[in-house]
Amino acid sequence: MTMKVQNNTYTLMYSAVVVLIVATCLAVFATALKPAQLRNIEIEKKQNILASLRIVSDKASAEELYNRYIVDSYTLNTSGEQIQNIDPFAVNLREELKKPPGERNLPAYVGARNDSTFLVIPVYGKGLWGPIWGYVSFMKRDPVKEGMPYYNVIYGVNFDHQSETPGLGAEISQDFFQIPFRGKAIFDEQGNFVSVKVVKGGADPGSIHEVDAISGGTITSRGLQAMLDTCLVAYEFYFKSVD
């Protein structure tokens, strides 16, 4: 026995067989579990989109609520035109953000609730330790004057993160941070894009463009600011041109 297991040929054969068995098993399991995993990701995305519309859903109800409230979805280019043949649900924002600003595909989801129309925009950026992302919903309003956008006022937001510091940066996923975004405007009175400012040291309570940053989460707050600026400005033409 000792002779045999010390032998070079035996060692090579043994490792080859072990690797073959393990690789086959893993391949089989990975393929079998893939549909369930993809489904989890899809449901989570739908729940996040619904959350930005202030609709609370759980795993079981997400699909049904999504079909009820999200009436349309499309992919836009930066000039505000719809691009055919690209499924907005399949657009990977992380990849899009690597392209030059003018060439990005921009997903948009149209929501309908209580006779109002909403637009849900996905956002993606960098926090302190890893990616942060979310959805921002806007309520459609007819512009008060020429040059003002149809989508200006934020109806709801939903932010999440991969690995921000618990208790600090990770608080971006909490209600106390997200609720103040409601009712804030991303365009000023002249129709210029100003975004929403995440202000350190306390937002001006009268301002419609400012919310409080998170104490101790400065870098995450800055990342979130940059995420909103980059992702929302791309839709400027669409916000202004839609009728």
Partner: protein, 204 residues
């Protein structure tokens, strides 16, 4: 049961965390809340038990020169499997555990048990030893996460247990409990308490 010691020793006298101080990394990382800690504990028990069992079954056939590699292949196989299953069926928890399930592969407890026990013992004993050591890791994880969640977030398993009235009186959650340094300090206190009543652990 003659093998009872294999199960109970790692819980106290030979605890992988408080006595052997192995696997500390994940202990600090996944104990902010109880639910991920429990899932992590169960995952580690499954991996230690099965890897011990598989290695013990193969122990006579494994070429000694590549035995560490074979052990790692078996551990990595089981860990990837656990990770995939969590992603498919416990998605929320798998997101919270993120990389730490994958890092079970590098958990010293596993390699330690395979080298020290499974390579020289029969499958049944090895299996029990694996469960025992996984459980020894698990009880510390659960105890630590109970303390951290209770004092850090005022809840247990996600349910609020510290009454609202206490917060109105000026009670605040201890934010330090959520951060890793406090986990390390709490483990230190646990080791101190354990040695306080178990005198034979104290080094001469």
């Amino acid at each position: 049961m003659k093998h009872l010691k294999l199960l109970t020793n790692p819980l106290n006298d030979e605890n992988p965390i408080t006595v052997q101080v192995l696997g500390i990394c994940s202990v600090l990382a996944v104990t902010v809340q109880m639910k991920p800690a429990i899932v992590m504990a169960v995952s580690v028990i499954v991996v230690t038990a099965l890897s011990n069992l598989i290695i013990s079954l193969l122990r006579a056939t494994i070429p000694p020169r590549i035995r560490i590699i074979i052990q790692l292949v078996v551990i990595a196989f089981l860990v990837i499997l656990v990770d995939q299953i969590l992603k498919a069926f416990l998605y929320d928890v798998s997101k919270k555990l993120s990389v730490f399930v994958g890092l079970i592969i590098t958990n010293c407890i596993l390699m330690g048990r395979l080298e020290a026990f499974a390579m020289n013992n029969r499958p049944w004993e090895s299996f029990l030893d694996g469960i025992g050591n996984g459980a020894g890791y698990g009880i510390i994880l659960i105890a630590l996460s109970t303390i951290r969640e209770l004092f850090g977030s005022g809840s247990l398993l996600g349910y609020q247990v510290i009454p609202e009235g206490l917060y109105k009186l000026g009670y605040v959650d201890n934010g330090m409990m959520i951060l890793p340094p406090m986990a390390l300090i709490t483990v230190g206190i646990m080791i101190w308490v354990q040695r306080g009543y178990n005198k034979k652990l104290i080094e001469k």
